[in-house]
Symmetry: C2
Subunit: 190 residues, 2 copies
Amino acid sequence: MKLLQEKILNDGRVSGNDILKVDNFLNHQLDIAFLNEIGKEFKNRFANEKIDKILTIEASGIAIASIASQHFGNVPVVFAKKVESKNLDKEVYETKVYSFTKGKEYSVKVSKRYLHEGENILILDDFLANGRAALGLKDLVDQANANVAGIGIVIEKGFQEGRSLLEKEGVKLESLAILKSIENGVITFK
Amino acid sequence: MKLLQEKILNDGRVSGNDILKVDNFLNHQLDIAFLNEIGKEFKNRFANEKIDKILTIEASGIAIASIASQHFGNVPVVFAKKVESKNLDKEVYETKVYSFTKGKEYSVKVSKRYLHEGENILILDDFLANGRAALGLKDLVDQANANVAGIGIVIEKGFQEGRSLLEKEGVKLESLAILKSIENGVITFK
């Protein structure tokens, strides 16, 4: 997605050899008009799939999924929760996700009320790196006996193993921008 | 907002005498068409205010603020972070918020890049109860020497002290539904 590559080059900030900060439009401050362009592109990429619901994970995925839903006929969005919540149902699908950024495993949950057998689920998230969060979301969908219609990612770190892990699982993966490297402060795309 | 009251009566679930669960449309599963009705109503309530930016707090506020932005000319949305993030800037506005639900204080942060002197900020959130989160967001806006143009809440627990605390601060507060009580499983509105 050309527009996204330009946005990353203009507004992204590189830190070290592996961190790309896009917090001025994607995951702290949100550029809503731009998120609509992203949503439109996800619809193009998954135009042939039947999508009943969008699943994402708090917090960075929520805005992306919510705006994207409008381009998929306002299908419901469900966001998986990372944090213990007093108000979350006891009956949940739960999986463990290892975070390389934080160096620890955390628990991800979705209430059983909101994922159902046979539903076609589009998984959306802001970043794909090691793929653990996406695999965790897929595991929640599998537990519900629902189908992963596809995984849509805004920015993929093409130099990490997320894609190969997901492709082994046989899912349709679409990333709107794929970073080849961000070494020495220089961003290159695949 | 009549439509919201009906939605709460139809889809909300009461737990004990003070918890209203609306996780099937507002804060776990998200009804995007309905969030657009909410966004439209916030625009009606703040039609006379100049709004440069919307500030909310992760995670439940993000979808509401993102969809609402579309009714305010796609103004930028910024969500304050509760969780430690490796990728968050070092230069932040920070405040402490006491959570009665969790029985502890937590830290709320916004990068200094995304709140500026003189900006007119609309604060949006899903619930108002004891008002601590809203006061915390107001404190972040104050630290930036920006102006709180108003606070918009989807559901106010009218039997808790949030409103009186915020009114003492002189802010314009608009809640789309105000609960009078949720005792014995019966929801009544003010």
